[in-house]
Symmetry: C2
Subunit: 256 residues, 2 copies
């Protein structure tokens, strides 16, 4: 039985304040829901049209069958895809000591939900366990972020921290750890010796890395631009790459 009040509650989770109040977020679609089922994130409720089957056989959770028209009403998607899950927001604890030997991504005020989702997907591809976001980064449980992670949200831990505070602690504990920052005045990344471990800082889509966070960066890097042969006017060139694109290329440089 799917009640009006249930529909109202799920729709209310489109707003951040309600997600925070109830400690839950919504994930949609066969692929993403199945990825969450097989992760450590706890699912509270599943609503599904059709004969949606969980991929894990013995997973002990009730599936509420609803009509296509009901799913459409509670969904954030233009074309809902069979299933919607209400999931518990996981409470991850960030252990500074776990970062010593790993590559970690730090995001300074990323604003676009699609960018954050894509960056989580990139981190998952390249085995980055943790993403540390400034407190003014877009909220990770925004439905647009969740959907663009394509399920990677189930395997990458996203933390929100005061970044100067985080970097002070990191520096105190591991003063030798490399902190790389993608900056337009950085050094050619192809000429850097990138170690296996380090922190990579990616800045806001239009303003880049904030001045305060820049003080913690000890390796400024950039991805060189290759001009078109036919364009000789140096002012007629792209200013930058998209934040998610830059993250992808730099993570690839670390892993290749």
């Amino acid at each position: 039985m799917f009640t009006k009040n249930q529909a109202k509650f799920i729709s209310s989770l489109k707003l951040k304040k309600n997600r925070e109040e109830y400690g839950v977020f919504v994930a949609e679609g066969v692929k993403i829901v199945n990825e969450i089922v097989s992760s450590g994130i706890k699912i509270k409720q599943i609503f599904s049209s059709k004969n949606f089957q969980l991929s894990l056989f013995n997973y002990d959770i009730e599936i509420v069958r609803i009509k296509e028209s009901e799913l459409k009403k509670i969904s954030s998607l233009t074309n809902p895809n069979q299933v919607l899950a209400v999931c518990e927001i996981p409470k991850y604890k960030l252990e500074i000591s776990s970062l010593k030997d790993k590559l970690t991504v730090v995001l300074d005020a990323i604003q676009d939900p699609g960018n954050l989702g894509t960056i989580i997907r990139i981190a998952d591809w390249f085995g980055v366990d943790d993403i540390i976001c400034s407190e003014d980064t877009v909220e990770v449980y925004n439905p647009k972020v969740i959907q663009s992670t394509m399920g990677s949200i189930a395997r990458v831990k996203v933390h929100y921290k005061n970044l100067p505070d985080f970097f002070e602690k990191l520096k105190f504990k591991y003063p030798q750890l490399n902190v790389y920052g993608a900056l337009l005045d950085g050094e050619n990344i192809y000429k850097q010796k990138l170690g296996k471990a380090g922190v990579l800082v990616i800045g806001n889509e239009s303003k880049g890395v904030s001045a305060e966070v820049q003080t913690y960066i000890n390796h400024k890097i950039k991805i060189p631009h290759v001009p078109h042969e036919a364009i000789t006017d140096l002012n007629n060139a792209p200013e930058s790459l998209n934040a998610a694109t830059a993250t992808a290329i730099i993570c690839n440089e670390f892993r290749r």
Copy 2:
């Protein structure tokens, strides 16, 4: 003087059939409009609120001043940014012989406007002059595509072709030219000797490269996935990277 009929005409350009009928598209915002002004694309009309100035001094085009409220009405953006330009759709001719010594990107049925826009921006960054799209790729003059190019639309030529037809001609003229395809069953890209020239095929977001186009690929490549240390279940891994992300990483591999 900004008339109701002008407003109606510009709003009508949100639809593809009207863009095609009149041979024009709309670009918005200070940065993008200025990039187009300094390119070969011809601007037919500029509508601007505030004191928008063209960056090129002697550019001979009339600017119609309109109110913020009027701009808001004709804009495709949630937050319009001072200026909207109606631009002529350029008619590029694709010369197969020009592709011999260059890196060229081929898109097979990319559907997401943000992906196409981001790929154009990536091509611009890495000096790729031409992008060849299958006829079922999303239309490049869709406002969402134009805006996500961040002005790179002014420097990258996008062509729509029947891909098998294009590849037959290419093969006939340059049988030795390398055709690379990003495929899940490809070879580790880090172990490939990538030349300076070649064609890179990127497939649809969910279906990948179509079977027919795959027959023209002579180097199947993939970007290796790095598992998280804590996750040992091989089925619990991301399936793929986003199409624009893969394009960025592979173009970087060609240029590094």
